[in-house]
Symmetry: D2
Subunit: 439 residues, 4 copies
């Protein structure tokens, strides 16, 4: 990751905090006076000793610690919040919604929270989507179900129109649960609000099932997704070894980052080859994927291959263009690879039983695991603390086990990827026995 400057880490505040937090009283009664954090509370970005020594006494780059502030910016009873969920499904969306609503109501006494329908579309009046009024009652059971109670949509909308609508609704705080495209949209809304002198706090909860957000220990829903992916791999393995020359091919999520493919493969223990966007490979060479697969099948009778959505982009002459979220449209590497494997075996007159599994929607739609539930709750709570304190243009995250505030501009500046020289990929190589290079 690039060297960080203080500017990269600066958190914008709407203004001076003058209102005593309702938590002051609650915590006081409970003996929790020390539960408050000041904006000076910080943790190091890099906690290695060598980094510290290299600084030669210069101040290290640090993240602001998240949590309740003793004084807040918004008067709870006069505050209106709004929550929007954007992009593809991810386990835990409903948990984050529920946490924001409960925290706002029960801890701060906010009484008005809109649930914006169908992503940013719901912020553009002409679509005609009526927002929900969210209350602890209306969200009490939603975490038992996958998906998003609010609905979602892909793609950006005009910031001016969205700020118009937020202004009409009287929204003071906008919570944006979405991926990097959506957080860029959140930033655009914040900028537009600044331009208009509107007092709007925009706080994001980063959502990426691919776990590709930088400076995050993990993204919510990712672990649940890995567990669901293991189920699909088990199926592929069962099919493969129940057939002569059986090949199980599973396509997993991972447009730019292969974390799910790597973790699920390691956890499964039954995978023989993993292909991810970060690690280039050749299909056709003498030591290419196909020759390697063929050799393995001849030797052991079956094989299991996992391919991340974004792997092998160089091989694809896809439909091109981009989807509504601005994601470059890739051809389908899974289907492509399936064809290539079949062709390879056919050309060698070798029978093949290939079972292709694309479990994406069955993974994205499951309810969050208990650990992810807790994580979502903590992220949602941190978002409310930040927003009530008047912080804006940030997402909440967890870094080295501490909840922190991260400027949106920072987290959308780059993507976390599997390091092809790092320990995760090494574990994949060890676990699969695949060669370090397909060429």
């Amino acid at each position: 990751m690039k060297e960080l400057t203080p500017a990269d880490l600066t958190v914008r505040n709407l203004g001076e905090r003058t209102i005593v937090s309702p938590l002051e009283i609650q915590f006081g009664e409970m003996g929790y006076e020390h539960a408050f954090f000041s904006d000076d509370s910080r943790v190091l970005v890099d906690h290695s000793l060598s980094h510290l020594k290299n600084l030669n006494g210069a101040e290290p780059a640090c993240f602001e610690v998240a949590g309740p502030r003793r004084k807040i910016y918004f008067h709870p009873r006069k505050t209106t919040g709004a929550i929007v969920t954007c992009g593809g499904l991810c386990p835990g969306l409903n948990d984050v919604i529920r946490a924001i609503v409960n925290q706002s109501f029960y801890r701060y006494g906010v009484r008005r929270i809109f649930g914006i329908r169908y992503g940013f579309e719901g912020l553009v009046e002409s679509y005609g989507h009526q927002p929900y009024n969210l209350t602890p009652e209306s969200v009490s059971n939603i975490h038992s179900f996958g998906g998003t109670r609010l609905g979602s949509s892909r793609g950006p909308q005009d910031p001016a129109k969205m700020v118009d609508y937020l202004s009409d609704l009287g929204v003071n705080i906008l919570y944006v649960i979405g991926g990097d495209g959506s957080q860029r949209g959140a930033l655009a809304i914040e900028q537009e609000a600044i331009r208009r002198g509107m007092e709007l706090a925009v706080v994001g909860v980063p959502k990426t099932i691919d776990n590709d957000m930088i400076y995050m220990d993990k993204s919510f829903g990712y672990e649940t997704a890995c567990a669901a992916a293991v189920t699909a791999i088990n199926a592929a393995h069962t099919e493969a070894r129940s057939a002569r020359n059986g090949v199980g091919l599973v396509r997993l999520m991972g447009r730019h980052s292969g974390f799910i493919a790597c973790s699920a493969s390691i956890a499964s223990g039954d995978v023989n080859c993993v292909l991810i966007p970060e690690v280039p490979f050749e299909l056709d060479g003498e030591h290419g994927v196909l020759a390697n697969l063929y050799e393995r099948v001849m030797r052991r009778g079956h094989s299991v291959i996992i391919v991340a959505e974004g792997a092998g982009e160089h091989l694809m002459t896809g439909p091109g263009g981009a989807d509504a979220s601005g994601n470059k449209k890739l051809g389908d590497i899974g289907v492509f690879l399936k064809g290539k494997i079949e062709e390879y075996f056919r050309s060698r007159e070798t029978e093949l039983t290939l079972k292709y599994i694309d479990p994406s929607y069955m993974i994205r739609s499951v309810p969050a695991s208990p650990q992810d539930r807790i994580y979502c709750m903590r992220l949602g709570q941190a978002a409310v603390h930040a927003a009530m304190a008047g912080k804006t243009g940030i997402v909440v995250g967890r870094w080295h086990s501490t909840y922190v505030h991260l400027p949106i501009s920072l987290v959308t500046s780059a993507r976390k990827q599997v390091d092809p020289k790092g320990d995760i990929w090494l574990s994949v190589l060890e676990s699969t026995g695949q060669p370090a290079r397909f060429y």
Copy 2:
């Protein structure tokens, strides 16, 4: 179902039973003398009072009851068994294998059971597949895993070659776990053995994940498959209602019979339309599937459709031909329907978020549920009792809660299907609210 004649129900026996069953001693010690069944023990095919009255005193059609016989045909210590699994995966295959092995060893004292590899291929010497020697130890854990420990393959093989190989191996009993194609193969083997005067008992355990075997309460693995299918439907429902104009489309197994599609849809409770092979439908008419779907989406915002593999065959101009098992190759109705739906919404300039799920392999590969485990065990035990008694050319089944012997020729003569005028389909209509006819 057609009227049955006594000939349809006749069970062939290899010859007179002269050997006292080892169970005679075991059961005697346990006080189970009465646990034996005679070949005269029978249950009615049709147990309705009206049927009985219509007989006017004629003998009703009956199935022979399965279970241990007091005298058996094969001398256990001189008997060699062989097990073969054929066709696509189905939950419970390993349970049936395990039951046959354990029953043969522990109850009858048979010491030699071959596990034929990769279906009928493993009975043709030139393929070079070495059979396993199965023992209670080698099968002790296999039921924890899905698939088949023996491997499987599709398609018939030359009966003469298979009987040659069985003869070389000294096999007296062949257990065929497979669908109707495979049971026809079993019958061909039996006929060839008869022709040669070879003493070979051929006993089948019918395997059809589609539940389309006639005169069977249910096929093993079917209930497990339904439960797994519900998981896929849940995913489709979650995706559909999380999007504006969201449609979840799930393609389930069911080449000729829509039992899984019907049962899983009823159990889910979230399905709005089910399409199965037994019930004709039009896509394009004014009251066709597409118009109905469109109207539902406009009205409620989302919809879930389930389509069985073999539905809408008339619509397809598929690749034609047949697969190795002789199953007619259908074009993929799921992909076809997906295209049609997208086209329909596009032509109406209506945005659509369609999520297509094909969970077949994730369903076929799961381990059996506890109830299916028990059912597989009972079927496997019944098969061993029948084979040791010298019965041949039959499958074991369960009819109206009683385990019975069914001639292979009978069960392969027709297919069980969902009755478009019966209570299952009525339940589907009630549960989905779909119209009785798409036209």
Copy 3:
């Protein structure tokens, strides 16, 4: 089972049916005219050929087939239903409630259904429990959760008070979901209504997690319970074999009938000894349970024992008395057996690691499996058809795969039990390897 007389099987009807069923129109439109059943539609109680022959031409005992009638007794728009759930939890209660509500509303057009709270207590005004108004909306999600949405309680209440209250509420149909004690309560209500000349149909849906209702293929929730019990057995097995001289002891439900203990043990495949109420055993003899267990542990290092709640009653000097449902209060055989085993090993100065698991509440509270969901739905639908037709004093059930009407007096006259000479117990003996007798 005892010989049945026609009187045992007679179904009482409130009176002549004069109202055309709304289904007449619906079914007609759908082409389902033939879906109706007449009261003459019957199935044989005993479908064996030998039984038939023994009749010598006499009319065989038959059950009335359940299903919609062309004419009904109650005018849907003027009809008020009430549902009550009694006794301990069982998977599927909410599914039955939901089915009754949906069927009443959508098929018959009934608009008023009370959900009685906390069992029969809710029918006694002085308890002050307000009934719910149930609608398809209010029950739409309840099947996702275990337990009963209505609440339950144990024990009988005064029939006169209950009929008073039903009369005050204007209830025409009372659906009683409960065990044999509760069905006896239902019968008392029916009798009281008859005495008063009140037009009340009382229709039961038999609930017994123990599967001990006679003339029922299976009780709802039973299969789900077995699957949950297998999970507990797996835990016991894991604990037992991870310790030196490890014993896993699991107490399962089964006050009078050991079906769950038997089925779960067979399905698990890891059980070494099963003790049920139907099969007497001695703990202390030379060939008793304790000596057998000790020998097994010495030989194999570990053992798993399953004991049904009601097993070994002769050994217990329990607290005596009866609980509120009138069930005789047993001492806890699990705790008792645990103590005995520990004592036995201690007296032999043998170390023992015994893990005792009582999973009852974790079993009773799970949501129904997909198959049980369908079964509950079908039972609920059959109950509504019966009640609307004016049938009373019956429960709905399934016998040899056909849904039937069973007089309450019949099903409460005896209990289904595991036959110590039958195939289920034989399967247990085979699967566990335990001796046929502990003495």
Copy 4:
């Protein structure tokens, strides 16, 4: 946590490393030269900026980073390893065993690894337990099952006898998977080996289902256990709300630390009161647990209480003494509390339906979740790297997302506990709505 001194963090090395790691070649071929770590690679114990500033330039306390070293101490082909698992079951034990075996064989070429049976007992010859020879084949499937393949036992054994036996077996590396008592045992073995001048590396993998090991992000199996605990809480909740005045009481693990009780309660969202060892409470006071519970049940009709095993020790007049592991024997707080609650309601003549669930063994025995599988694998790999490099007297752990070496003496010096003034407990208070103090 107390202030750390450099001595607390010192890792002992058996001696100079002179052997080129086999990984040098493997990694070189794969282009992973940089994957090695030196002993100077360190991470800060405290990564807060404020801590750094308070140091005033003094060197901060750091942990040594785990991972492969370029040179190692033991010659792989001459090295004999041994693995022992001690204490109660915990999800993931088999995964750690498997990881150590696979890493030793495949990465380092070690050919001899003993699987010590039944904990430290297996290291005392007189018990007569023969160790297993572990190979990648023999451990290939063990992670599919819970428990420990090796068996376990509680309690210490004589270090001299254990070192005698290790010496007889020719063991160079001993891997101890166990809790703090067992790690103290490991330290005693190490000390005895030092005394004898024996070249034995003792490396621990800390096992504590309670998550109470200090300086560990989390202990393996803990997250799996929390998920299983949520299942038990769901059951209690279902039982409680299905009864009038229903109380669900669940006793969870947590002798000294209530992490599982807290996390599972937060994740469940249905808990009304959590009692843990770290937070004192009164049962009987006017604002005590019982009065609070009573009031809640009167107001809402039901309540769910979670109590950790070690909570309320002051209330118990238990059997005293200690178990074989040296854990002080507590009376059973769950049973005690059950009695107290029943008494309280009885004294108020209020009916109560209390369902008590103790799911401990059903939690301890489950297989690890996919995330825990990965975590176990990483810990096992780190243990092998450390041992081969000649490190001894340490456990491997993860701190702020980095795998590190921790001296056994450090991790056994104190216990991690829930901070009664910290954010976890605050989340519990928020989630349950229980008062901060019961008095």
